[in-house]
Amino acid sequence: MPILLEKRQLVVPGDLIAEGDYIAGDNTYKEKDKIYASRVGIVEYETKKVDVVALKSFYIPRMGDIVIGTITEVGFNGWMVDINSPYPALLRASDVLSRPFKPQKDDLPQVLDAGDLVVAKVVSYDRTHDPHLTVAEPGLGKITRGQILKVTPTKVPRIIGRKGSMISMIKQETGCNIILGVNGVVLITGKTLEDEQLAMMALLKIEAESHTTGLTDRITQMLKEEKSKRGGKTE
């Protein structure tokens, strides 16, 4: 006997969503043919699978994710990195140096020190091991300049926009390069500080108004207006 809540209904942990032959998807669990919600969220379902889109969550590493982290500790042959998740990440020295690490020759704090920011990729993670990071790919590595912004991990998809429309628009309008860490940390690098500030303004506006419709258009307009204002000043 399948009973279903309406789509997009707000549920809290323990709410019964479906009964019968369904598959428990994200943020749900099944017990005795009944599917319950396990997080505060919105009900979504396809023909057989029931999901809850979580409204609040934290970042759990996944293989292949691009993240931005802070070095917290320099170890004997690598670094510990805070990636905004329950688990600390490891970054190996040989990976950063791209050659075998020799403790006699290499001074780790000179390469990366506590407080440094890195763009990295998660190479391995499972429930028995802490995540491993790598920077041995183009575009990854130590951050030398730019602005850092933290957003809620659940709002990252909104910043990307559908098929990347929002993020590519901001990049184009401000001329900044934006790296979006899946863990909710954003790096903005532009030619001038003003460009960076402009991009930051747009991102903060997205975070504050992420619930409104037609946001992409309004952000475009805001950026254009700001640009003409500033252009007027310099001339």
Binding site: G14, L55, S57
Partner: protein, 255 residues
């Protein structure tokens, strides 16, 4: 104030604060009150005022306490020194240490601890003003804070007590009744799974009285659950709007 009143129930059958035997005190809840915590809640249950905050899952300190197959739940129940009439020493008392354990054990079955091994979930319950039944109010607030933090849970946990004063079984005793009465039965419940996670009894009751008290407390739990759910939904209603328009826009784009 500290003297024992002569009668706990008057001729009309009403209690000292004018409640009927099966009536709860007024309850007010708010979610997301502490911005530093991952999840938090505030509850006003009669004259009780309690804040609960949840941190985590986060790294375990000291490291050797970490469990390889699930996360560790830590709980601290604490009464502020100004929470009672006579100043209470801020050091954790025997009673507070016991309550911390009891509350932890009543919340733990509701949390999917096996999802995040080698981590720790910290629950803090701070009693700002106490007037009897703080463990029940504390559990209710802590469950809200857990849900607010985004930790996956099997169900919310609600708690309510019943007791015996002057040979009558009554719901939700306040401080004076608790001290002058003859028994107190706090119960915590996972309402959707219909599972009891806490059941204590302080005092002496007959079999029949005990059964009546438990059933009355369970009824109370269900009433509190409705309020608890409402508080959580109020907090997330505006957040819901955000996701709603997102998915709508996506659908429109697909069309």
């Amino acid at each position: 104030m500290n003297e024992k009143p002569e009668k706990l129930i008057d001729k009309k059958g009403l209690r000292l604060d004018g409640r009927k035997p099966d009536e709860l005190r007024p309850i007010k809840m708010e979610v997301g009150v502490i911005s530093n915590a991952n999840g938090s809640a505030y509850i006003e249950w009669g004259k009780n005022k309690i804040v609960a905050a949840v941190y985590g899952p986060r790294e375990v300190h000291p490291k050797h306490l970490a469990l390889q197959d699930r996360s560790v739940v830590k709980c601290r129940y604490h009464m502020a020194s100004f929470s009672v009439q006579e100043r209470k020493s801020p050091a954790p008392s025997r009673r507070e240490i016991e309550l911390s354990k009891v509350i932890r054990e009543s919340l733990q079955p509701a949390i999917f601890t096996e999802y995040y091994p080698r981590t720790m979930i910290d629950v803090f319950i701070e009693v700002l003003q106490a007037d009897g039944g703080t463990r029940c109010a504390g559990i209710t607030a802590a469950a809200l804070a857990l849900a607010d933090s985004g930790i996956p849970m099997r169900d919310l946990v609600v708690s309510c007590a019943a007791g015996k004063i002057e040979n009558t079984i009554v719901l939700d005793l306040f401080d004076t009744e608790d001290k002058a009465g003859s028994a107190d039965v706090p119960v915590a419940l996972m309402p959707n799974l219909n599972a009891v996670t806490l059941l204590q009894m302080d005092g002496i009751l007959t079999h029949e009285e005990f059964e009546k008290a438990v059933n009355m407390a369970l009824e109370g739990c269900k009433t509190v659950y409705a309020l608890q759910k409402e508080a959580l939904k109020t907090r997330y209603l505006n957040v819901k709007g955000e996701v709603e328009t997102e998915t709508k826009e996506e659908e429109e784009a697909e069309e």
